[in-house]
C-alpha cells in the first residue's frame, strides 16, 4: 500500500510538467538568479559613473534589457516571471534609472540654454545646430529606455512595486507631467507613461493616480505630438478599465 502511494504520488508530482500551461521552475535556475544580481550591480555602477553620452544611452538600454528579460522570463508557458530581481536590486535599479532621467532633464536644460545663447549671439551655424539636436535626441533616447525599463520592472513586480514607485519615481516624474519648454512633449510623454503604467499594473491602490494624470491626458489628447496623443488615448482606456 505504501509502495502504491509512493508510485501514485510520484506520477502525480510530475504530471504538471507536461501541461502546456505550466513550466518547469525551481532552484535549477539559481545560477541565472545569481548572475542577474551581478549584472544589475555592474550595470548600475556603470550607468552612474558614465560620462560618455553614447555609452550612457547604451548602458541604460542594457539595464532595460535586463528588466525586460526578467519580465519575459516566464512567457514560454504563460506563467509568472521565473527570474526576479531581489528587493535590494529592484530599489537600486529604479533609483539608477530614475536618476538617469533626472540628470537627463538637467542636461537638456543646459543644452537648451546653450542653444538660446548661441542663437542670440549669432553663433548658431549648421554644425552647431546639428550637434545640439544630436545631443537632445540622445537624451530623449536615454529617457525612453529608462522609462521602458521602469515599466518592465513594474509589470514584473505588480502591486508590490507601488511603495518603490511612491518613494522613488513619483517625486521625479510628477513635476514632469506639467513640464514646459522646448523638450516638454517628450518629458511629459515619459512621465505620462510611468503614471499610466502604475495605474495599470500596481493594483487598486494605484487608482489614486487617476486624478493626477487625468488633466494631462485631457490636455494632450489633441496635441501635435503623436506619441503623446497615443499615450494619452491609451491612458484614458486604462483609466476606464480601472474605473
Amino acid at each position: 500500500m505504501i509502495v502504491g502511494a509512493v508510485v501514485v504520488g510520484f506520477f502525480f508530482s510530475f504530471s504538471f510538467c507536461f501541461d502546456p500551461a505550466c513550466g518547469p521552475q525551481g532552484s535549477d535556475l539559481a545560477p541565472a538568479q545569481t548572475f542577474l544580481s551581478a549584472c544589475v550591480q555592474y550595470l548600475v555602477a556603470a550607468v552612474d559613473k558614465e560620462y560618455n553620452s553614447e555609452a550612457r544611452v547604451g548602458m541604460v538600454e542594457a539595464l532595460k534589457d535586463v528588466a525586460a528579460l526578467c519580465y519575459e522570463s516566464g512567457d514560454d508557458y504563460g506563467t509568472a516571471p521565473i527570474l526576479a530581481v531581489s528587493d535590494a536590486d529592484l530599489s537600486t535599479m529604479v533609483a539608477c534609472l530614475t536618476n538617469a532621467v533626472t540628470k537627463s532633464v538637467e542636461r537638456r536644460t543646459e543644452v537648451g540654454n546653450q542653444f538660446v545663447a548661441a542663437a542670440e549671439g549669432g553663433e548658431l551655424d549648421q554644425a552647431a545646430h546639428e550637434s545640439i539636436l544630436d545631443a537632445l535626441q540622445s537624451e530623449v533616447d536615454l529617457a525612453e529606455f529608462a522609462v521602458d525599463g521602469l515599466g518592465y520592472l513594474m509589470k514584473a513586480r505588480g502591486a508590490a512595486f507601488l511603495p518603490v514607485f511612491q518613494k522613488i519615481e513619483q517625486p521625479v516624474f510628477e513635476p514632469l507631467l506639467r513640464a514646459g519648454g522646448a523638450t516638454s512633449n517628450s518629458l511629459r510623454l515619459n512621465a505620462l507613461c510611468v503614471f499610466v503604467d502604475a495605474v495599470e499594473w500596481c493594483g487598486a491602490a494605484a487608482a489614486v493616480y487617476v486624478a493626477t494624470i487625468l488633466p494631462t491626458i485631457a490636455s494632450c489628447l489633441a496635441c501635435d505630438f503623436p506619441d503623446l496623443r497615443q499615450c494619452s488615448a491609451y491612458g484614458l482606456g486604462i483609466i476606464a478599465q480601472v474605473g
Binding site: C17, P24, G26, P31, A32, C39, N52, D65, L69
Partner: protein
C-alpha cells in the same frame, strides 16, 4: 542609399559591377586594385542585402579561391584578410541557406590549415596562430558548466539504453547513426546542454589574432546562429585572452626616452601642476584588439543565445570588470550590452536543461514517449537541428539518462 531605394537599380548595378569587380578580384598582378575591388564588393553586398542572393554564385567562387590560398607576401596577407571579411559579408547578405555550406567549408579549412601547421605562430598574416591539441575522449557540459564524469555518463548511457530498449525506437536509429560514421563529426547538441567530442576525439584551442578573422567569424556566427556553437571552444579562448589583457600604458617624464613612439605606442605630453611635464604612452594597437575582442564576445552572445550557456559564466567573468574600464568608452559599452545577452543565454540554457530532466522523468513514468520529447523540443526551437538524426538521438540519450536515474532512485527507495 540609391542601391537600397529600388530593387531594379540594385540588380542592374550589381550586374554591371559583376564584370568589373570580378576582373579586379582575379587580376593577381595588382594587389591593391584587388583589395579595392573586394572592399567595393563588400559595400555593394552590404547595401544590396538579400537582393544580393542572386549574385552569390557569381562572386563566391572567386572569393573562395582568394581565401583558400595561404599567402606568402605581406600584401597577399592583407588581401586574404579582406577577402575573408568580404566572404562573410557576401554570405551574410545572401542568407543562411546559400551561405551555410560555404561557411562551414571555410571554417573547417582554416582549422585544418592550422592543425597541419602550415602557418607559423608568429606570422603576421596568420589568422589562427597557435594550435594546441588535447586528447579528450568525451566531454559533457551540463547546466552551466558542470562537467559530468566520462565513466558515469557511459554507465548511465548503457543502463538507460537497456532500460528503454523495449519501448523506444531510437536504439536502432542510434546504432545506424553511429555505425554510419556520423559520430566522428563534432556535434553541439540541444541548446548547449550537451557537447559531444570534437573531431577525432580532439579538442583544439586556437588563438585568433587578426581583426579580419575576428570580424569574419562574428559575421559567420550571425548567419549560422546556433550551429556556430561547435566552433566556440576554438574561437573564444583567444578572444577572452585579448579582452582580459591589461592595457599597456606608461607615465614617464617628458624628457625620459625609455618609451619610444612607434606604430603601436601613442604618447601625449601633459603639464601637471606640481609634477611638471609628463608623457603618457598607451598601446593603442592592444587597445583596439581588446575593443574588437569585447565586441566579438558581445556579438557571439547575441547571435548564439541559449547555446552560449556553457561559456556564459566564463565570458561574464571577463566582461563584468570591463563595464568600468576607464580607458575606452566603447569597451565599457560593449561589455555592458553583452551582460543582458549572457543573462539570456544563462536563463534559457538552464530552462532547456530543466526540461531535459523533466522529460526524462516523464519517459520513466511512461507519461510521454520519445517522439513527444523530440516534437516538443523541435517545436520550441530547442533542438539545434530537428532534421539532424544525430541531434535527435543525442537529445534522447540525455532524456534516457534522466529516465534511467529516475528508475534507479525509484527502485532504490523501493528496496529500502
Amino acid at each position: 542609399m540609391l542601391l537600397r531605394t529600388t530593387g531594379m537599380t540594385t540588380t542592374s548595378r550589381v550586374g554591371t559591377l559583376r564584370c568589373t569587380l570580378g576582373l579586379g578580384m582575379t587580376d593577381t598582378s595588382v594587389t591593391w586594385a584587388q583589395e579595392t575591388a573586394i572592399t567595393a564588393l563588400s559595400c555593394v553586398a552590404n547595401a544590396a542585402g538579400s537582393m544580393f542572393a542572386t549574385k552569390y554564385a557569381t562572386f563566391m567562387p572567386g572569393l573562395k579561391t582568394l581565401v583558400s590560398v595561404p599567402p606568402t607576401t605581406e600584401e597577399a596577407k592583407t588581401l586574404r584578410g579582406r577577402a575573408m571579411e568580404c566572404f562573410a559579408i557576401v554570405g551574410e547578405a545572401a542568407g543562411e541557406t546559400l551561405f551555410r555550406a560555404d561557411a562551414e567549408q571555410l571554417l573547417q579549412a582554416l582549422l585544418a590549415e592550422q592543425r597541419a601547421g602550415q602557418l607559423p605562430p608568429t606570422d603576421a598574416q596568420t589568422p589562427y596562430v597557435l594550435v594546441v591539441e588535447q586528447s579528450v575522449s568525451f566531454s559533457v557540459v551540463v547546466a552551466g558548466g558542470q562537467v559530468a564524469c566520462v565513466a558515469g555518463l557511459f554507465v548511465c548511457l548503457f543502463v538507460c539504453l537497456f532500460v528503454s530498449f523495449v519501448s523506444s525506437f531510437h536504439f536502432v536509429l542510434l546504432s545506424c547513426v553511429l555505425s554510419s560514421g556520423q559520430s566522428t563529426h563534432s556535434h553541439h547538441v540541444f541548446c548547449g546542454v550537451v557537447f559531444f567530442s570534437c573531431p577525432q576525439n580532439r579538442c583544439m584551442c586556437v588563438r585568433v589574432a587578426r581583426s579580419f578573422v575576428l570580424r569574419t567569424c562574428s559575421r559567420i556566427a550571425s548567419v549560422m546562429g546556433e550551429d556556430f556553437a561547435k566552433y566556440l571552444p576554438v574561437v573564444l579562448p583567444p578572444l577572452l585572452k585579448s579582452a582580459a589583457k591589461e592595457p599597456e600604458m606608461a607615465i614617464t617624464s617628458a624628457n625620459d626616452g625609455s618609451v619610444e613612439d612607434d606604430d603601436n605606442m601613442m604618447s601625449k605630453t601633459y603639464h601637471l601642476r606640481g609634477m611638471g611635464e609628463l608623457k603618457i604612452s598607451l598601446n593603442t594597437s592592444a587597445m583596439m584588439e581588446k575593443e574588437l575582442a569585447v565586441r566579438s564576445l558581445y556579438s557571439y552572445a547575441n547571435d548564439l543565445q541559449a547555446v552560449f550557456l556553457p561559456h556564459a559564466a566564463q565570458v561574464a567573468a571577463v566582461l563584468g570588470p570591463l563595464t568600468a574600464f576607464q580607458f575606452n568608452a566603447d569597451i565599457r559599452l560593449s561589455a555592458c550590452m553583452a551582460l543582458p545577452r549572457l543573462l539570456y543565454a544563462t536563463l534559457h540554457g538552464l530552462k532547456a536543461a530543466v526540461r531535459v530532466v523533466v522529460w526524462g522523468v516523464g519517459v520513466a513514468c511512461g507519461m510521454v514517449t520519445h517522439r513527444d520529447a523530440v516534437c516538443f523540443h523541435a517545436r520550441n526551437g530547442l533542438l539545434s537541428d530537428a532534421n539532424d538524426p544525430c541531434c535527435c538521438v543525442c537529445l534522447l540519450i540525455v532524456v534516457d539518462c534522466w529516465c534511467c536515474c529516475c528508475w534507479f532512485f525509484f527502485f532504490f527507495f523501493l528496496l529500502l
